[in-house]
Symmetry: none
Subunit: 253 residues, 2 copies
């Protein structure tokens, strides 16, 4: 099936303008342009659009969406986690607002006009909190990491640290994979170090570690191109190398 803009628009529920905009920003290009300059979309584009709309519904920005759909599953998950974190912050902020609005209404209805001072005091408190959230970076530069970290730790809780640590380990895996691959030997020291990093990385998201699951995952990496593409980006054949190294590490054949 092939569709022009407005045909696709109808079946997908978005406007034609939206499709042209997605074309313009490179988020969703038509399959081809016909001789009259019309945009023609195929099944592939329909599917992609559906993915896009799914994420859009989750209030992911179009920029983030284009990042997400062009990345392998693992990084998609990472992005989603970050998004999840932000959504929860947003909700808790909304909770506070709703609370304040309700109180304001009650006060007004009760004929007890809040004094401006009081209003402003509550408001300033919130401001301080928000400033820390918004300008943490700048403040960090000015006042040093320790102060900010302490306050951030309080505010953000533990999972932010975890998140960053995990990202770091993920990057280490990349560079290790490169070096290990150059040895050409999955049993080399470098390769085994790589596997340990990989295990460490898994532990961030896996609630329990088992050799079998690790081995199964290694197999899946090779079988599923969504994963293999991820590691083959570093070096061609990197995925298989990683799998072999994992198998050796686990004492498997």
């Amino acid at each position: 099936m092939e569709y022009t803009v407005n045909q696709l628009a109808k079946i997908s529920g978005v406007s034609g303008r939206t499709l042209r905009y997605y074309d313009q920003i490179g988020l969703l290009k038509p399959a081809r342009i016909n001789s009259s300059g019309y945009r023609i979309y195929g099944q592939k584009e329909v599917d992609l659009l559906q993915q896009i709309l799914f994420y859009r519904e989750l209030e992911v920005s179009l920029e983030d969406i284009s990042q997400i759909i062009n990345q392998p599953d693992f990084q998609q998950t990472e992005a989603l986690k970050k998004h999840f974190f932000n959504l929860k912050k947003k909700r808790s902020r909304l909770d506070k607002i709703i609370d304040t609005v309700e109180k304001t209404i009650i006060n007004k209805e009760g004929g007890i006009p809040m004094k401006d001072k009081d209003k402003f005091e509550g408001f300033k408190q919130k401001l301080v909190e928000e400033n820390e959230q918004k300008y943490g970076k700048e403040i960090r530069e000015k006042y040093g990491d320790k102060t900010v970290d302490a306050s951030n730790a309080k505010m953000m809780g533990l999972s932010e640290e975890d998140y960053q640590a995990m990202t770091k380990v993920g990057e280490e895996i990349f560079s290790l994979l490169k070096r290990a691959y150059e040895t050409g030997d999955p049993s080399s020291k470098e390769a085994q170090e790589l596997v340990e990093k990989h295990k460490e990385w898994l532990m961030f998201s896996w609630p329990s570690y088992s050799k079998e699951a690790h081995a199964g995952l290694a197999d899946m990496y090779v079988a599923d191109e969504r994963f293999s593409v991820y590691y083959d980006k570093v070096v061609q054949g990197g995925t298989k190398f990683l799998r072999d190294a994992i198998f050796i590490y686990l004492g498997k054949k």
Copy 2:
């Protein structure tokens, strides 16, 4: 006390640009302009700004704010009530989104990459539901029930079969788990049938099946409460029972 833009900006916490903007749109005019063209604000303006910022913090639009602060108290209350209503709608929408994002993450983390089709089906269902809620009445009145139902069916599109099949298998798992659990024996016929259903369900989304991965997943189900809650909802201890059944099915210890 009199203040220039940036002085007022400092004591109020907003930017100079913001104050100029508020002047521009007529929300907050300076008390006077001095001979050099500088904006000069007095105490009255400081108080007004604080009110403005109070409402802004509550996510009231600047346009609504200017309406509110120029109206008598009882109409202010009305406006606030309306705003309160909208905020609550916003929050419940956010709740749904957060829920969906969490589910998506869980699915992905469980090594169960959702097929895009399925994602979209879920999303489309929501769309249909939303449309029904929003416009259902009007459209039904205008075009009649048949048309609406037909268009809803269309909207659900082609892969409806797949989606429904998967959903159905998922539901079968639930009822099977209940019956199997009642036998008390993970090696019972019912329990093994359950495992087969579970495998079938996995195949909808797993690109490749391996015993190791299946076993690893079973372990994870038990260890991670995000999963265990899901199955324990059916019967207490259901997750462990499922794991044991899977292990037996796979010939594992």
